[in-house]
Structures are given as C-alpha cells and as structure tokens.
Amino acid sequence: MEEWLKEMQGLFPEERVLTSIADRHSYSFDASFGEHLPDAVVQPKDKQEVATVLKLANAYKIPVHPRGSGTCLSGGPLPVHGGIVLDLSQYPAEIDLRPRDLTVTVTPSVLTANINKEAEKHGLMYAPDPSSAHVATIGGNLAENSGGPRGLKYGVTKDHVIGLEVVTPEGEIIRTGGQTIKNVTGIDLTKLIVGSEGTLGVIVGATLKMMPKPPAVQTLMVAFDEVRRAGEAISQTLISGILPAKMEFMDQACIVAVENFQPVGLPTDAAAVIIIELDGHPETLRVERGLIEEIMEEMGAKEVIIPKSDDEATKLWHARKQVSPAIAKIKPTKVSEDATVPRSKIPDFMDQLELIKEKYDLEIVAFGHAGDGNLHPNILCDKRDVEEMKRVEKAVEEMFEAALELGGTLSGEHGIGTMKAPFMELELGEVGLDMMKRIKDSWDPNGILNPGKVFPEKGQKLVLHHE
C-alpha cells in the first residue's frame, strides 16, 4: 500500500477511509459522463479533518476531489486524476437560522431543500431551487453555483451567499465575507470561491441570505403555434413591467414525451408552451395575471390556460419536472447542456438548434428556464452507438459556438467541470483563461485540489464515445 494511504488510515477511523473496489466504484461517477476510479474515499466529519486531508495530500501531492451528493451534471466531483474523493455528504448537517437577520448559516452537507423548509417555518425563503434540491448538498450547490427556475427573478446561488468558511488547498481554515448584507471589505473572495467548482478550496460552512416568502403564487400556461412566437412573447412580458418568478419553456418534442410518459393533458398540438409562475400579494397577482393574458393574446398565443385549483397548478409544474425523465424514454443516453443566451436571442438560438439537429441527424429537444435565457438543449442518443456519439460530440461543439456567437455563455447553472473545459478558451480568450488559471495556481501551488476541472488540459477535446 502506498505511504500516503497508510498515513491517512492512521489518522481516521477505519470505516471512514474507504478503499475496497466496491466503495471506490461507488464514488467514480456523478450524474454526468465518465467513470474514474479514486484510490480512496475519505469521509471527514469536521473542518479540522478536512484540513488534515488537504495537508497530507499536499505533502504527498495527491489529488483531492470534493464531493457532495454526486448529482453534478458537469463532472465536478469526478476523480479524473485518481487520488482521493473527499465525501462531504456525511459531514454533520447543521442549520443555524437567524430570522431577525434574515440569514442562515449551514454546514456543507445540508440538503438545499431543507434550508428552504426551515426558512418557511419563519415565513422566509431560500430562493435558489435547483430541481435536485432535495438530494443535492448546499456545498455542491455553492461549488457549482447552481441555479433553478426561480433564477429568473431571484438569481443563482452566488446571489445569496454573504460569507463562507473554507479550507484552503494547503489546509488552512479561513473565513470570507461575513454576516452582513453589506460588506465591501477587500477583494470579494466569497464570490471568487462560489462557482469555482472545488478548485480553490473546500467549503465547510456558509452564511446565506433569506428573503420574505411571497404570500401567494399564480401559475399560467400559454401554448403557441410557433416556437419563435413563444420566444418573442417571453421577451415582451419581461419588458412590460412584470417580473415572474419562473418562465419555463417546453418544445413540442418535450410536450409529447411527457404526455406519453405520464399524461397530464398538455396541448400536444402546440409547437411550444410556456409555464409561468407569478409570486407576490394576491391583489398584485390578479393585476399581473390580467396583463399577461393581454400580452399573450397580442403576441398571438394559441391558448392561455389558468389552472382552476392549486392541485391543477401543481400538476402543471409536475409535468415540467417530468420532462427530464420523459425524454430519456426517447433514447437512453441524455447529453444535457445548459448553454445560455441573452433573453432576446432565445428565438435565434432555437433556430440554430433546429439547424444542428438536421445537420447531424440527431434527436434534440429543448426545454428550460427560457425567461433568463437558460435553455436546456438535450441530445437523446445511445452511448453504446459509437458512430452516433461522435456526431453528438460535433453537435455539442456547434451548440456552444452558436450560443457564444449570440453573446451567450457555455453554462448558465451546471458548471464547466470536465465536459465544457475544452471550450473555455472559445468564450474567455487565451488571456482571459490564463488570468483565471493564475488565480488557481496561486491558491493551489501544488495543483492538488480538483485537478482536471474547469481548465482544459493540453489538447483536451470533448469525448463522449468509447471505442
């Protein structure tokens, strides 16, 4: 056995340093692509233990890959260089809510949905709502800077963090930011670490902002005969003085897939639907609902459906949640992207997707958070079909190019990880990427923390096929 592993085993209880084949395989994947076997999985239970792992890893130059629940869609926790998976999901979960400050301090293993659940007891909410919130840890959400449907009105994870406790790659424990809403003391390290995908430090605590929970919500569903028209209607709504909490888009392929999977009565003859959620005081909602109905009519909507009960509204949102599993029935492998464009460019981006779909003869469907320009084009394929996967690789590349050309970005909320790293220079330019890399190198001189993520390795290309 290697020296470093022997030493690690001396520092931790036996059951928290996992080295069996079965255990190592169980931490070799996440919800994205790829399979990488770590040498060991270590489960720290406090920040000193995290520091211990990092100090040891530094001494022996062993890669450390932090991991929460492993729901990442971009490969963040994959141990691409072997070494250690640092499993933070078993860290004690603590939620310290301070309603009078409208803040909450949490440990990294807390499930994101539980923060909101706790907040609601005090009439508050924690706004970011990634669809995996009931499984994913806040630590993972912070590292990846996760979003969710409510991002349209409330922003993504980074907009709700005011302070962090972090173990640096060299094993020192630091605090960034603090407890106050306003804080301009020095360079904003909090924002630097949020979304750095575990490359700059291991988050062991966070102070988050909460907001008042809106007293009421109103759901509407609008159907369109043309995709372009749906896109234009979204833009029109957003410049008319209304800011919905969510504006979700589904194209016809998604509608049909959901209806085949678990029918809820979506209009399968529509080219696209938008599901909208307004939140606020009931009086405001009544006015805004009327305005939206007017706008949609003017924009040539086919139909505006207003659910008659909370139950019906819940069903519509459930249908939206079913898109992801439903489309998996089209073909078993799902390559899910989250390239994002300026909102006004959604119709153009949709046109581009149509062209790419025809060019590479692939099943591409689109749904997602259209209100903030964050579409999720999904390619349905079969990873056992090598030839098809090669076409998928090319299509993904063109998708990114199209998004960037329209002034967009590679990722709206999933992160870069392994899959999008090859395209970083395309968006940032050589110098831009180098400035990022310099930050990484100065924080992590030995390059042990989550190597192989965010930054492309020499000549790295997107590979989805296995010969």
């Binding site: 069996s20 079965a22 395989h25 070799s28 489960q43 995996s132 998996a328």
Partner: protein, 426 residues
C-alpha cells in the same frame, strides 16, 4: 464477460439509471450505512461494473446482500429503472457463486414451502409457550445461545392457538347466499402458522362483508424469500404450484394479508416469458390478486359502530406500498372506526428493517434501521402501531421491546384491529 452473465445481471436495464441520485434520500441503508456503496444508484452501478468485468461478483456481494429490497427507490426514480429485476438478477448470480450451505438448503427447499413444517413450527411455538418453557428459557437466556438472534424475535411472537384448533379449520366458508364475491384465500406459510389467528380473522371479515371464502388445496409458499435470496428456479416452481391451485375454481379475488407475499404474487407473470402458456396463466392469476384491505374497501360490506378509544399509527409494509401500490385502503379502513385517532408517521415509507429474513441474516444492520423507525414511532406516541405484513409486525414488536415501551405501545395487524372493532354486515 460472458453475455449470459450480462443477461442474468440485467446489464441492459442498468442503462436506464441516469445516476441522478434521486433515490438517495429514499434509501434506508444509504442513511444508516452512510455510503454510496449501499445506495440504489451505487448498487446498480456495481452490477454494471461486474457485468463489464471491472469488478468481481464477490465485490458486489455485501452491497447487494445488504439491500432491504424495500423498493422505496422505485417510487422516486424519475426514469423507472427496473431495480427489482436488477437486484434479483444480482442475487441469483451471487447465489450460484456461493458454496451451498446445508442449513440454508433445508430452510428454502424443505422448510418454507412445506405446510407440514409450518404446522410443526406453529405447534412447537404453541407447546413452547404453553409449557412455560418460554418463561424459563427467557429467564435463563437460553435462546440467546442460538446462532442467529432468534431470542430477540421469539419474545415478540404472538400467543399460538392450540394445534387442534388449527387442524380444525374448514377449507370452505359461506355465510350469506348468494355471496357477493368468491374469494380464494392465499394462506401464506408464516401467516398460517405463527399468525393463524390473523388468518381466521381475515376470513371472518370477508364473511361479514358477504363473501364466500375458499382455501384452495395444493397452495404453497409464495416464493418471495426464495427470490430475495437469488433462488429464482425454486421460486418459479412455487409460482406454478400456486397458479395451478387457484385455477381449480373461478375466483373473483385471490386474497392475502401479508404485504410481502402479495408483492410476490402480483409479479408472477414476470417469472415467465411473454407469450408462453405459463405467462398467460400467470397474468390471469395476477389479475385477481388483492390485498385484504383492497377487497374490504371494494366490497364495502361492513359498518363500524363500536367506538374504539385508541390512538394508532400506520406502518405500511414496503411491499404492499411500493410494489402492490396499495396506499390509501388501509388508512381508509382505519378511518371508518369511530373514535380511533390516526396519527401519521413522519416517514411512513421508511422501511422498518424487517424485509423478509433480512433482520435475521443482517441483524445489526436491521436494528440500525429499526432504531430510526422507532424514533419516528415514539415521536408520534401511539397506543398501537398497525401493520399489514407479518414480518413488519414482528419487527415492530421487537422495536417496541428495544425501546422499553412495551407497556405503552403495542403492535397489531390491520385485520386484527378491524375485527376487534367488531364491524357488522351492512
């Protein structure tokens, strides 16, 4: 890796898993064993690794054998992964690799399918309890010397009826002519020996509902325990016997009162290849299989007038809830009893840890799971915990003992509680 192994392991089915992790919060063993290796996603991945030759069959043994098979993961899986089929395939492969153990062979080839042995078990339990031996051996800790933690369970056994009473049961009951429905009663093995009274009470409820009840001859063990331990061939043989037994007359319902058995019975058609004669026969059988709670709700032939001043909570059998998808009926029946207060558990869908023979084979792990369950139960503070499966019932009794609240809380089968409320025919 051979294609045969891949097929047995359900390799193609593992691709339905997109590794989203939505199963993690639903899995009891992921919670108590604190690692991904003991989660549904982890297990499916390991099966795939074994099929691809990246891990050995032995590598997956512990994670697969420590799965409760509660199927809670299948109720939250967004892509409908056939976890049950993958698990059973893995168990079959593991079973074939393992050197045979005589005790286990006896257990599964002779003991469980045999009504004679089950009779003997029931009789022995009765004699043991009546003779005062139970008290003596409990006092001296004799049962604690048994190789498996039998002593824990035997304290939880219900009082046995005398062998004479058990032998005296008729195989055909009718009280009202014409009856509203003809019921074929699936008696089960443990249910019909250790829980004989519950079976009798089930018959009584059906009779009061206006049904005719028949115990078809030749029926045998459902085969659930065999399938759970990878003995697929044996479980197919048992299925055939049962299908044959219940084909002898036309039944409106084939009724059972054990969630675990019922879950096996309603999946009989999966044991045979589609299009074959046996598959067709199994489909016809399965169409009639119902849990007692479903039938009582459907027949709707009982009125509950007697007030029962009691607070209860319902611990659903995982197999009744997650495989048979029977969720609302037991609750609807409980709500009919005047005066009865029903308090729901915080996490009713969390397994109690009984899981067939899991609590005997993996005792320590089962107790960790039971402790989580009991914390929930004690928080609700009921007078009774109502269950719908013999294994759960024993496990809950054990949990109550372990918590030291046996004077305060008891555990009861739904059927027994319903009859205690003394409903009358409508």
């Amino acid at each position: 890796m051979s294609n045969l192994l891949k097929e047995k392991l359900g390799y193609d089915k593992t691709f339905d898993c997109v590794q989203c992790g939505y199963c993690l919060p639903a899995c009891p063993t992921y919670e108590t064993m604190e690692k991904e290796t003991h989660s549904p996603r982890g297990r499916i991945n390991l099966v795939k690794m074994v099929a691809e030759g990246k891990a050995s069959v032995e590598d997956m043994r512990e994670p697969i054998e420590k799965c409760l098979g509660c199927m809670a993961c299948t109720t939250v899986c967004p892509t409908n992964v056939q976890y049950g089929a993958i698990l059973e395939g893995a168990k079959q492969v593991l079973d074939e690799e393992k050197p045979r153990r005589l005790v286990e062979d006896f257990f599964f080839q002779t003991f469980f399918p045999s009504s004679k042995w089950m009779d003997a078990l029931g009789n022995a339990t009765w004699a043991y309890q009546k003779s005062g031996l139970q008290k003596i051996s409990q006092r001296f800790g004799l049962t604690k010397k048994a190789p498996l933690p039998i002593h824990e369970f035997e304290a939880a056994l219900p009082p046995m009826p005398a062998p004479k009473k058990r032998r005296g049961r008729a195989d055909r009951y009718i009280r009202k002519r014409p009856s509203v429905a003809k019921v074929g009663f699936f008696q089960g093995c443990v249910m019909d020996s250790v829980f004989f009274e519950t079976n009798q009470n089930t018959v009584e409820l059906l009779l009061r509902s206006g049904a005719e009840v028949v115990f078809p001859e030749g029926q045998t063990c459902c085969g659930a325990l065999h399938a759970h331990t990878g003995k697929v061939d044996a479980s197919i043989e048992l299925a055939k016997q049962n299908i044959e037994a219940f084909e002898q007359e036309g039944f409106d319902y084939i009724v059972n009162n054990a969630g675990g058995c019922g879950a096996r019975l309603i999946e009989y058609h999966h044991l045979f290849e589609e299009g074959t004669e046996w598959h067709n026969r199994a489909v016809r059988f399965v169409e009639c299989v119902k849990d007692i709670s479903e039938v009582l709700v459907q027949l709707d032939g009982l009125v509950f007038e007697k007030t029962m001043d009691r607070t209860v909570t319902y611990q659903p059998s995982c197999h009744l809830q997650n495989v048979q998808k029977v969720t609302s009926e037991p609750l609807a029946l409980l709500q009919k009893i005047p005066g009865l207060e029903l308090r729901e558990l915080d996490r009713p869908d969390f397994c109690c840890g009984s899981a067939g023979v899991y609590n005997i084979v993996n005792y320590e792990d089962a107790m960790d799971i039971l402790d989580v369950k009991m914390q929930d139960v004690c928080g609700v503070d009921p007078d009774s915990v109502v269950t719908s499966n013999p294994g759960c019932l024993l496990q809950m009794k054990l949990g109550i003992e372990r918590e030291g609240v046996s004077g305060k809380i008891d555990s009861v089968h739904l059927v027994d509680l319903l009859l205690e409320a003394d409903p009358q025919p409508k």
